[in-house]
Symmetry: C2
Subunit: 204 residues, 2 copies
DNA sequence: CCATAAAAGCAACTTTAGGTTGCTTTTATG
DNA sequence: CATAAAAGCAACCTAAAGTTGCTTTTATGG
């Protein structure tokens, strides 16, 4: 049986010492290449070079670039969003924007997000996986709206507003696509506009 | 002197007939591969195959994938946005969203946008070029806000609102990144929220 | 309409880089 | 400290990018 591409850390036979170090180096190298060169930059020999590890070692445990990327991203916690609960939903929006800004300003995180975006599209296998990648990160952020509705700050109709997209989309466009980051003023205006719009239509 | 990668259509020595057909086929093939496989899919032999053209012909006129992509995108008019002027700025916002939706739903346009996003980042040469790619497409869409201010619909302070990002960002995120397109309802809510927010803060 | 030179096509070649294999050396672990 | 797991090494195969000299096709001007 081929044990490659299906061996989580815990199932490795010698998880202590060198093996662990080598594995870490390989997954870190994968993220570095992914951020710098995109998915196209991930070949097993390239990862081995970046990690200063012999390529046979990489081939022993992973069989394809996608496996490497998948495993590396699972381990990469920086892309996770913090829990946000400021007490008011406007505060939550502001906090979310700030958190997202910090994240997207980190070159490695930005590069990785770009790569993940590029990996979507026609190819079904990748597409499904990319979907699985985003889902948990989105779900985490429906709750503030729900809480606001429970608190009576917003009407139930607020659920129709695609808040995640409204808040994160502009940052994505300005930082990742056009690479003309929003100014301090524009960020403030962004938050204010969304807050005012939602309050005007769904506030109590 | 190397005449490759610096020969616009008009400077070719025999621009009629076959040469023109071959050039068109090559640039079309470039866009197809770019949309389907991303920038990584662009190699000169691959483009030649896709265009049903001999690879020596491609090598004769272009020296690198980036040259091909650059020239192909310059010729690709589908990514241009229509002029919008409905008379009211809310109407303009709605019209812009609809136009952008149509665009982003086209698989080829979506694939190309994804590829362009992925091409941004560290590498300075590419980064500059990607910037040049977006600029004309953005500028075209400051005018509706300006017109609204001139008409007296909005206060001058509305200029601070990053409207392009606010309107296009959510569509970008939902269609290109997460691939969970907004529903009809959500699109309406998006337009309504932005309109209400801007009106509340900057309306007259 | 035809002569001709530009440009496309073709085939054989070199080079580069991904991927494979058998073996040796290092080292975690009982 | 014995030993087996895992990393390293070197030589290899293969596929695809890139190159070259030449032949065939065809746009174009006289």
């Amino acid at each position: 049986m081929d044990r490659r591409a299906s061996v989580p850390e815990s199932n490795r036979r010698r998880p202590g010492g060198r093996s662990a170090r080598v594995r870490e180096a390989i997954l870190r190298a994968t993220l570095e290449l992914l951020a710098e060169r995109g998915f196209a930059g991930i070949t097993l020999p390239a990862v081995a070079r970046q990690a200063s590890v012999n390529k046979t070692t990489v081939y022993r445990w992973w069989s394809a670039p996608l496996d490497l990327v998948q495993e590396a991203l699972t381990d990469f916690e920086a892309l996770a969003l913090p829990d946000i609960d400021t007490g008011s939903w406007e505060g939550d929006v502001e906090a979310f924007v700030r958190a997202r800004l910090r994240l997207i300003r980190d070159p490695m995180a930005a590069g990785i997000l770009r790569a993940v975006i590029a990996m979507g599209g026609s190819d079904t296998t990748r597409g499904e996986w990319v979907d699985a990648f985003w889902k948990p990160r989105e779900r985490k952020w429906r709750s503030p709206v729900e809480r606001a509705i429970e608190r009576g700050e917003l009407a139930a109709s607020a659920r129709e507003v695609p808040l995640v997209e409204l808040v994160a989309g502009p940052l994505l466009l300005s930082h990742l696509a056009t690479e003309r980051p929003l100014s301090r003023k524009e960020v403030s205006a962004l938050v204010a506009t969304i807050a005012a719009g939602v309050t005007a239509l769904h506030g109590r």
